[in-house]
Symmetry: C2
Subunit: 438 residues, 2 copies
């Protein structure tokens, strides 16, 4: 039986997923990110080290161990709930063996022990990139993340992606300039804007952050600012708040927007209400909307950490972004927005004239495979009509008939031509299944 | 800290692993196997349904649940310990939506809660293929498995693989023909041959299977037979035992050997002592040795199940084989038998003459990436010597110097030539990291 929160795709969806993963991976590699995979488990104390009790953790126990405690000398292990915590641990463990700045990508399943009723994924695939450096990490790496993600989405038959960008320094500096001391509390409240609306947020700012009505109104006006070009700077300035951190944040955010506009106009939008809630970002933050799917929220998020990891007095700052692959595909599959031309890799079925000719058919198949053409031999020496049906049901375009000479039939058009297994090739578009958007 | 049994590779090893996985996958697809991934967890009762208490299972528990029992209405979940049990469950669940015979491959992590002291993997990657059909599965699918595995290994820069094949029907028929009733007990004892030697096995056959000395000796003589061609049939016949099941088994085994010899001489060896212990195979069984690594045991095993799954009165027989990817790579890495030409995908570093020219360098990088050339821009506008060192330390072959005109330098040879980012390409051998064997 299906288990709530643990999605499983049938082969056609899995083929689409692999296609998407291949495109993600090759784009990441074009930007020089090296592959990494970490183990699925971490000691519980590592998983909870950032106070992440909000991410529900699955703990592991050996069936053979009695009770709930791990065997002597063993840590309590849990499944990782993201790829950032394991990556930070990996950097700490291997910093002496890595070249910094270290660019890595990581495409793996993660698990969250959500309550099943919520209908959320409990197992899902993420595709992360991060750049981490020793001591300091130049800001320009923050401007690179949207370019990579933009290229990923441009390589896929999907709706257009818009990356929403903000900078915690803008918010924090603005709130400080307004006179707030507990700027984190203000940020947490602003983060509720989409859920509860501006009136409620204003009330909450007064209630929980000690804001005056004017301060609350100013915070809301900042959060309203949104621009696909550098005009947001003027609009923030027009609110009349000054603070050095605000200036720094505006400068950084402007760089992200300008670099993205140079690369692909419309790719990013400065969106000053983006807060990324409880995550430990210290500067740039990213969220991503798919056009037409805005109501489903962000499918790709991340930001800058001043301290991704630390070893003694050495800090390792980082910036990264994570594509929620399962979440994104779940949305698109739900709308039938992606399809694949056939549910098997096979391009050619070699028809079997009679059981005693299987060796001959195997030789034909081997010759085709040798030149990269995915081929199956028919499972039984049924009537040719049935063998053609075998191919047709699977969307396999070609059936090969051994003979003197051999012939190959495009079963879509009915066209049948003489062919030699050591030379014939299908049109490039037929060689592999093709993934298309709606 | 590393956790015993949970291997983690540094990026160069991970690059090799990905290269190997890509080759495995593309070979599987050339034979028409469709991709499948199942969830990492199964209900405990599914995991134990074949009586597999010998495979140690990791159970899951939500951190937020008190005690050891799952929330009401939820099954006790455990991590899968192989890919066969989840595949069988998937077939049962989805048989109405699949086209039979159904060919699928599945490349995933599995987990076994072994005691840490044993130095065994507790998390490892397997790459499985299986063909499953409704009611009956023609025997020729058994002859196909070694061809696929042979092609996988021929595509990899690795020692030669030899697939050892046997057939349970040969053993069972032979033991029956000799007069044994509990043939399973004889098989289990013969399976200990490599561990305890023939004298001890003979004694055990007398002790636990009620064998006479002559019967025990005959069983051992059968187990000694080994041949890369059909000559094993004569040698079995020469032992003077007759039984219809023995005849059937010999005929099947001969087909596997002959088909493989036609495809790639030396690829398989009939090895009549192979028993595959406690697994539920009913006919053909496979093990695989890497030349030079025989002492480490099988790195790729499988066989035929008369009942892989069943739904009501409908049986789903299957045949499959599984490459132990982590185990195999662990062995090869341990002997430094595989290497990669550089630990990053990057082919070109664009040198940054000064910070104010980053946009220009980004444009050059974008032009190169657009044509599939993995490119990074130097992280800082350091002296060119330091920027060349940045590339050199990572094994990146080319450094690009923006100018009028641009030039590109092969830092291995020192050769520097004029180049245009919209036209230049490296030699094909430099474009991506190259994996080589020793």
């Amino acid at each position: 039986m299906p288990i709530s929160g643990f999605p499983e795709w049938l082969p056609p969806q899995r083929m689409i997923e692999q296609y998407v993963l291949d495109k993600i991976r090759s784009t990441f590699e074009l930007y020089g990110f090296a592959p990494l995979e970490t183990r699925a488990v971490e000691p519980l104390e590592t998983l909870l080290s950032k106070g992440e009790t909000s991410k529900e953790v699955y703990l592991l126990r050996r069936l053979q161990d009695s009770g709930d405690t791990p065997a002597k000398g063993e840590d309590q292990l849990g499944l990782h709930f993201d790829l950032t915590v394991p990556f930070a641990r990996f950097v700490v463990e291997n910093h002496g063996r890595l070249q910094f700045p270290f660019r890595r990508y990581q495409i793996q399943k993660v698990w969250r022990g959500e309550r099943p009723q919520e209908g959320r994924y409990r197992e899902f695939l993420q595709a992360d990139i991060d750049v981490v450096n020793r001591d300091t990490l130049p800001f320009h790496f923050d401007t690179e993340m949207p370019l990579v993600i933009g290229d990923v989405f441009r390589s896929l038959p999907m709706p257009r992606a818009v990356i929403l960008v903000n900078n915690r320094k803008v918010c924090e500096g603005f709130y400080r300039g307004l006179g707030f001391e507990d700027t984190a509390q203000v940020l947490r409240t602003i983060d509720k804007l989409d859920k509860v609306g501006p009136d409620k947020v204003a009330a909450l700012l007064v209630e929980t952050a000690g804001a005056t009505d004017a301060q609350a109104a100013a915070c809301l006006r900042l959060a309203e600012i949104s621009a696909t070009d550098g005009s947001f700077v003027e609009r923030v300035r027009a609110l009349g708040v000054t603070d050095p951190l605000l200036d720094e944040g505006l400068g950084e955010l402007l760089q992200v927007v300008e670099t993205a506009n140079e690369h692909a106009p419309g790719l990013v939008r400065a969106e000053l209400k983006i807060a990324r809630g409880l995550d430990y970002y210290t500067g740039t933050v990213y969220e991503t909307q798919l056009e037409g799917y805005e109501r489903f929220g962000s499918i790709c998020s991340g930001g800058r950490y001043e301290t991704l990891a630390s070893v003694g007095n050495t800090r390792f700052p980082g910036v990264g972004i994570s594509i929620g692959v399962s979440r994104m595909l779940g949305l698109l599959f739900g709308q039938d927005a992606l399809s694949v031309s056939r549910p098997v890799p096979t391009c050619v079925v070699v028809a079997l004239p009679s059981d005693d000719r299987r060796a001959e058919c195997d030789r034909i198949a081997a010759a085709l495979r040798k030149r990269g053409i995915p081929t199956e031999v028919a499972p039984t020496a049924a009537k040719f009509g049935k063998q053609i049906q075998f191919a047709d049901r699977r969307g396999i375009p070609y059936v090969w008939f051994p003979g003197e000479p051999d012939t190959v039939k495009d079963i879509r058009s009915g066209e049948q031509v003489e062919a030699d297994a050591s030379a014939w090739a299908p049109p490039a578009a037929d060689l592999h299944p093709v993934v298309t958007g709606r």
